[in-house]
Symmetry: C2
Subunit: 552 residues, 2 copies
């Protein structure tokens, strides 16, 4: 068989219906690996994102993975240790083709310095969440996740929509640049403050921003006008947030929703109010101590302004960027009065087993994704969160790599969709198998006390049993790929991939895996005492699975 | 069905052939849990050993576990989080009945203080290795492990036997008290120095020690005489090691093998040479600082004497008790010139997939174990390490709880035995199913940089991917119970249990699981660069499972 081996910048996912492997399940995993690199940041170095999260230990490992996937049978199991293939063991046709443990390090040795040393020694990789598990599908996740958060804010506080609301945020960079479009898609009149014009221009070019100005009065006028007209808007103001926010407050303008996605590190990210971007960059070299002091002051000012809005009725939350911790270090004692987005807006979804589910058209044909889009619009009611997203995504999301879609679905819904898709693959309505996967940031699959599991109701933020159980369950119930990731000393996460290959026997496995995966997430949250999760567990019959036992 | 529920001190493992569960696999797991408690240290508190390692979160959890095991089907999976049953999910009849994650905590939160806090909050348990995985079978493991170490020393340095050799060690307490008998069983003339006569008397009573004296001249005479006569001996000298060892050196007596199993903690364990046991105990309250200083001095003297023997040709090794670290803290800069027992004597066995395999007669009938003993003597050559052990064990090991046997078997051998046993269960030669399990301290199932994985050839001591992969593989290949344990910030381990129920279909699963489990251990050591493991992986065909890949 002629395997088109491509490396580095050239890696492209296989497409079409011809197989290079002994079956579609193996082929699917191979295409996911290739797609991971096709979407990667620095594929030459196997780096997928964050400058360090890698898809394989090295190119030799990559070659051996490809050689293994193209020759292994479906009743075998490939064992992957931190991006290196270790062996192929006899398995079962209904259990994983690939099992992975990436980046796991014994606690006392898991700090950054020690982790880096083990990485330099070639013994581990930083796996990120999806990178080493071959599940990255490009930047669609950021837009969708940000949109989902804003929608959740709308549902919780504004009767279901941000239309006619003022959304204020900061940062228009790598990930933060998804905010203006996400805010607009969620219906809000969105103003994003960004100090660097270059960043704004890039987002204007990509359609993530409608317009830009560096005039505060102009910005305010357009922002308020859109609010009054209930007109969605994505407007960037080129200015410093530590100056703009207090000024808005002075003028008596209170946003309905306020958050922030600057990079608040006082040395590496945050531009102090007194300096231009260029000045800050120069000072980083010349007088880091001074830069640090200035940036700390500005971060404090920035957060104090947000807290001020909060006290005047605004919905305020931290958006995963450690603004509170930095501000507290800068002297804002009550920084943690503001809560985080996971805690407030994502956790209620996790309690229902909802999370960033995704599916990839292994054919490479966008039509297959559109077919799934239509199935979703048919299947789920028009006021289900996913329905409005699917309509928007179709218009706004450009495919990168293999066509793929992200959509937040919950317990029962994921398997429902997967069974429909499996049928459609069987009867040819979809041209080739579809791979289902999800971010590791999901209902039952992450333990990250500074983000995903911050401030759990029962204090179980750091309990890492949950993602491990999630992976063991997915393994026993028959996912095609299962991964457990250690994220330095900061977290543990778990991932899975399962392929709807159109085989009728696969249906049972899809049902079991795609119910169990969010199911254990619901139970994790029920165990922590969340009412929604307890209620959902009851509704789904999950809470009756353990008999009550005997007396107490 | 009438379930005899017993709690606390009363828990006894079910025996005989009547089932309380829907199948033997479930019944086996239930009996293992009960047997765990039957052998436990403080069953009233669910404590199995080490004062803190527990079998279940609390009695309510225990009751719910029992209720679940007695009602679940074999195609279901019970999910256990740190000793608490969380839910029962649809599974497959050929994958685990029980999956467990116990005591796993995110790295930065896994230190002792934080771990204890989470334990106090009722969110985790300290699982030990076998305690929370329902695999403890009493103290047989200590005797057998110590014996195996001494035998390995004999094979590596003395042509296969310690007969006619002087073995010197210290400590005759809880675990250390296995040393005199183990040394004697290994053929050596064994002298154990123990400062506390009470401890010695206890071991004389239990048959672990032949004789005791507090006269050094007498001890030396008997020790040397037994050596000269090639007569195995287990003699305890009541004295302080920090005084005895330098005195032996002064007299020019050099043991062939020297180690130590005192508890070298200068405050909680080690008795300084200047003090009696009673004085040391009193000083612990009255002047801990002084006790600490004295004990440190003695620990240093003790280790320096051992290093002196080493320089004069003795085989010296640390036996898992942190003597070197304590001595270094006391100023012995070159303490780590001496290596550890795992590194020197156990790792070569791990490289062959050999480790503390064990089997339990679920009938409760000792005859079933004797039948397995006979199968082993028939099946494995008489110079296989296990053969001499089985003969000795039959004579010296008293059963506690369900009759059980430990025996070190390697890759291929474990499955060979299990298939024979499964047949014997089927044809009634064995009266009821046999459960197979092992210590977590096994070839591929532990990452403990201070013990099991100390000083790995490639520096991979702290890489925790391996036990996790071990568990995922056992899960996908179909063990009946799989567990991943976090041991504070110090380690990660994995355990499995699988039942030979006599069903012909079980044979395939037994073969797959009991080859895969040590198989991944062999590959873990081959990956770290150990020649024996590389050679074994080749011999077993494990190294050819990954195709070489393409070019470099
Ligand atoms: N789901 C999540 O938790 C999530 C999602 C996205 C981003 N984040 C976090 O958000 C942060 C930003 O990520 P990024 O990739 O966009 O980083 P980035 O550095 O690319 O972007 C940050 C932007 O903030 C701008 N900025 C800095 N100081 C400013 C100031 N005083 N006023 C206005 N603008 C200022 C910078 O010019 C830059 O464009 C990170 O900490 C990231 O982890 C979290
Ligand atoms: N496989 C292993 O790694 C392994 C196996 C067994 C024990 N150990 C280690 O060995 C140590 C001892 O375990 P234990 O359960 O026997 O503890 P223990 O406290 O019950 O026994 C230690 C004994 O040492 C004696 N002792 C103290 N100071 C002495 C001195 N100066 N001279 C002579 N005797 C002295 C004490 O009186 C006591 O009886 C522990 O650190 C344990 O972890 C390791």
């Amino acid at each position: 068989m002629n395997i088109p081996v491509r490396r580095g910048k050239d890696v492209k996912a296989g497409r079409g219906t011809a197989l290079r492997c002994k079956g579609w399940r193996q082929e699917a995993i191979l295409r996911m690996l290739e797609n991971n690199l096709e979407n990667g940041e620095a594929p030459d170095n196997l780096v997928i994102y964050m400058s360090i999260a890698r898809a394989a230990r090295d190119w030799k490992s990559f070659d051996r993975i490809v050689a293994t996937l193209t020759t292994m049978r479906e009743d075998q199991t490939l064992v992957m240790q931190s991006g290196k293939p270790i062996g192929v063991f006899p398995g079962q046709a209904t259990t994983p083709l690939v099992i992975m443990a990436n980046g796991n390090i014994v606690g006392d040795w898991s700090g950054e310095e020690s982790r880096r040393k083990l990485d330099d020694m070639g013994l581990t990789v930083y796996p990120g969440m999806t990178a080493a598990a071959w599940q990255y599908i490009g930047s669609q996740g950021i837009l969708q996740g940000t949109y989902e958060t804003f929608m959740s804010v709308g549902r919780q506080h504004f009767g279901g929509t941000l239309a006619g609301r003022l959304l204020l945020t900061s940062g228009c960079g790598g990930m933060s640049g998804a905010q203006p479009l996400a805010g607009k898609l969620a219906g809000a009149s969105t103003l994003v403050v960004e100090v660097d014009q270059v960043r704004i221009d890039r987002r204007i070019a990509s359609g993530y921003c409608d317009a830009t100005t560096d005039d505060l009065d102009d910005a305010i006028a357009r922002w308020l006008a859109a609010r009054d007209a209930r007109q969605p808007l994505a407007l960037a103001l080129c200015a410093n947030s530590a100056a703009v926010l207090p000024e808005l407050a002075r003028r008596g303008i209170v946003p309905d929703v306020v958050t922030d996605q600057t990079y608040p590190d006082p040395l590496k990210g945050y531009v102090p109010a007194e300096l231009s971007v260029a000045q800050a960059r120069a000072m980083r070299q010349e007088d880091p101590a001074k830069l640090m002091a200035l940036a700390r002051q500005s971060v404090a000012t920035h957060l104090r302004a947000i807290l001020g809005f909060m006290d005047r009725g605004a919905i305020a939350f931290e958006y995963g960027n450690s603004l509170r911790a930095e501000a507290r270090a800068a002297g804002v004692e009550d920084a943690f009065r503001m809560r985080s987005f996971v805690d407030l807006y994502i956790r209620p979804l996790f309690c229902q087993g909802m999370g960033p589910f995704r599916w990839i058209a292994l054919s490479g044909d966008p039509q297959d994704i559109y077919t799934v889009d239509d199935m979703i619009l048919d299947t789920f009611s028009s006021n289900h969160p996913i329905s409005s997203w699917i309509r928007l995504a179709r218009e706004h999301v450009k495919f990168t790599g293999l066509p793929a879609r992200i959509g937040w679905l919950g317990y029962g819904e994921r398997s429902r969709l997967a069974l429909l898709v499996n049928e459609a693959v069987a009867n040819g309505k979809i041209s080739a198998p579809i791979a289902f996967t999800r971010d590791h940031l999901d209902s039952g699959s992450a333990a990250l006390p500074h983000r995903e599991t911050e401030n759990m109701k029962d204090g179980s933020d750091a309990i890492a049993d949950w993602p491990i159980l999630n992976a063991l369950l997915n393994c026993s119930s028959g996912a095609d790929l299962v991964a457990i990731h250690g994220l330095g000393g900061r977290g543990v996460s778990a991932g899975l991939t399962i392929v709807a290959d159109g085989n009728p026997d696969t249906a049972e496995r899809l049902k079991r895996v795609l119910d169990g995966d969010p199911g254990i997430g619901v139970l994790r949250h029920a165990d922590a005492g969340y009412d929604i999760a307890i209620e959902q567990a009851g509704r789904f019959g999950l809470s009756e699975t353990i008999p009550p036992g005997l007396s107490e």
